[in-house]
Amino acid sequence: MRNPRTATTGVDARATGAVAATAVACLALAGCSTPAAATPGISDDVVTVGTHQPLTGPAAAGYSSISAATKAYFDHVNASGGIHDRTIEYVVKDDGYNPATTQTVVRELVQSDGVFAMLNGLGTPTHSSVLDYLDQHDVPDLFVASGSTLWDDPEGHPGTFGFNADYVVEGAALAQYATDEHPDQKVCVLGQDDDFGEEFLAGVERVTGADGVTAHESYSTSNQDVTAQIGALQAAGCETVLLATVNGFTALAVGTAAKMGWSPRWMASSSGGDYPTLVELLGEDVAPTLLEGFVSANYLPFGPDGEWVELFRQINDEYNDGAPFDGNTVYGMSVGYLFAEALAQAGENPTRESLVQAIESGELVGNGILPLSFGADDHSAFDGVGITVVADGVQDYVGATYALDGESVTAVEPQPVALENDGVPTS
């Protein structure tokens, strides 16, 4: 009986010793893990920014070209000497449009790659899963690629700024256009089953009233079949269908309706209304017929013969291997331009604080068709959108432009920004 006892006492003694040693080690090492004070991602000649994008997965079809366009624009800026003599390095991580992956890659960007700021993280479900994380680490979270109203929360998330016109604005503007152009028609909504669809519907209902929407259907991105929803809309006798859909599902909705021999008037959010992308998805042969008269909201310079588009086409040819030029290209480059402008205004030696201050100053101009609405108490980029229509295979603005002013939608004049200095901002 003696031996086992001494043995177990030995275990006890060893345990105590190990615990004590561990405690000492904890204290000794405690100094190593406190956060550093210097501004991450800024060196003497490089500014590193990061993003999460759906390069693979369900949303890749519509959006994977955005980050390539942004990168091409930054190459253009870098070739002209950069901003305050620093070149911009853009680290793109694929999250497959899966929030779980977003959380991992964003941590990698912030902690391993040490980015200065996040730029244009794409998607509502994906980006909302890292919102608090970025706030906790004081990482500027600029120009989120989604129209959710979540990004406009200066109190809760002081470093987060949106880029898209929010879905409430888009829904309201499209509904207003529908009622202005075709009064007394049955207006219906097909939306994604998340914030995108809900906020868009809320915007539509601000114009039509809660019972002004004849039918409302929703879809889930995990189910690539909208036959039931389209059938329900057709049965409800819808004449105009407002779409809160991503590009892939806009094509799916239009295609499914066409198969069922139904052709209502389609009006899509800017997130799902890019004509070249839709043509690619639906096929060159049928798309021009199916999409003639297709209405969409937009807020970026997309007219076929504008000076911005001309510049972006040049950049696309030079730095993006002449990839197909579509709304995503304009979008990606516009995001890049706005970031370059913010960085230029943030001073010779930018810090995370000065970058956020530069945006909140309200002095950024951007390149949209309406003035930016950024300010200390407004973190959304656009309060209004213009209406584009596809005519003879060309998508262009028709002049109708709406802004959401509090509760009411008003028609406003577009105020395009003139192109200066070859599209490279100077402070």
Partner: protein
């Protein structure tokens, strides 16, 4: 490592510490060691460590279930998801009821969330276990597989689960008193390690005690077990529930660390990877389960790092993204089963102790390995 070879109850005279106490001491030591290790890691590694700890909760439950009772579950991701959703619902309810502050309120909120996770995963696991006790081999595997496939549809159809977007939970910041000492990832890693210890230690106790013997008996020969007065159905359901609770805590940890739970994380590939982790680590071995969990979390990242460093062309890299890791897992599984049929745990155990002792755990698991072929069908 925790409990690779529990001491046989009848072979050693009662010392001052009982078998259970020894397990507890060892668990406490390992927990402290893991917490100390977080000081050596940078924040991103600490985040990975937290995810490993969460995965370890699931793989340890699974390895026990498959290794000891021979019940093959391909759906442990669903049990993790159940835990995650249970955590999110409970935490949000608690936050809504006034527990939305920092400090003590935050800790109480987390505990409420963990209880929610236990309730949810226990309920789902109990139901699955009841069905599983009547099913054998491939049929149970099929049932659990169907659960994984059904999860996204279920999350979309039940409004309370928040669709593809899932549910968000409040961010758990570092408590005021510790905020000068640790960053948030490290704090989360601590929480994850403690929860993992709370999840796995009971499994270790269970495994080394009578329950473990009953499980082995049922796995070895149900009729013989029944003749000896052991109820196979009860043992099987019990094992399934225990394993579910542990997986549920893992899901809760993931939810806590990432502030959200959604069907995207718990897909079929992840569920199968959990099985691969248990098999590669060595069925029935908790140390092996830990190694397997680390593999599941770190291998995709390692593969990405390597492909990034080698400088693969962008379009090829995009095509490989996500797929290459699965391929490596497959290859690893084949290599390990060929070289060490008992998994990594057996390989190291054999090197450490070449003479097999009269350890009651050493025989039945060997059987378990030979007649549990399904996991390798991946």
């Amino acid at each position: 490592m925790t409990t690779t070879r529990p001491a046989g109850p009848a072979l050693r005279p009662a010392g001052r510490l009982t078998r259970t106490q020894r397990i507890l001491v060892r668990a406490a030591l390992l927990t402290l060691l893991a917490i100390a290790a977080t000081f050596l890691l940078d924040p991103y590694r600490n985040y990975q460590l937290a995810v490993v700890a969460a995965t370890f909760c699931a793989t340890s439950g699974l390895t026990l279930l498959v290794g000891l009772t021979g019940q093959l579950s391909l759906g442990h991701a669903v049990l993790m998801a159940a835990g995650g959703y249970g955590y999110a619902l409970a935490v949000n309810a608690a936050a809504g009821a006034g527990l939305d502050g920092d400090g003590v309120a935050a800790l109480v909120r987390v505990v409420v969330g963990l209880v929610g996770a236990l309730v949810a995963s226990g309920a789902v696991g109990g139901l699955l276990g009841l069905a599983g006790a009547r099913l054998r081999g491939p049929y149970l595997a099929g049932l659990t597989l169907a659960m994984v496939v059904a999860l996204p549809a279920l999350a979309t159809q039940v409004p309370a689960l928040g669709g593809d977007q899932g549910l968000a939970v409040p961010f758990e910041a570092v408590p005021e008193a510790l905020s000068r000492l640790v960053v948030v990832e490290q704090w989360h890693a601590w929480l994850a390690i403690v929860v993992a210890a709370l999840a796995v230690t009971p499994l270790a106790v269970l495994r080394s005690g009578r329950a473990g013997l009953r499980m082995r008996a049922v796995h070895g020969d149900e009729t013989a077990a029944r003749l000896a007065g052991v109820s196979p159905a009860r043992v099987k359901v019990g094992a399934f529930v225990a394993s579910s609770l542990s997986a549920g805590l893992g899901g809760a940890v993931l939810c806590l660390v990432t502030q959200s739970v959604g069907p995207g994380r718990y897909d079929l590939a992840f569920s199968l990877l959990l099985v691969v982790a248990a098999v590669v680590g060595g069925l029935g071995s908790l140390g092996g389960a830990a190694a397997g969990a680390a593999l599941v979390v770190l291998l995709p990242w390692l593969v990405d790092t390597v492909t990034g460093a080698v400088g693969v062309p962008a379009d090829l890299e995009q095509r490989l993204s996500g797929n290459l890791a699965v391929l490596v897992f497959g290859a690893l599984l084949i290599v390990v089963t060929l070289a060490w049929p008992g998994g990594l745990a057996r390989a190291t155990a054999r090197r450490r102790a070449p003479v097999p002792g009269p350890d009651p755990s050493s025989r039945p698991p060997t059987r378990a390995r030979t007649d549990a072929p399904a996991p390798t069908e991946r």
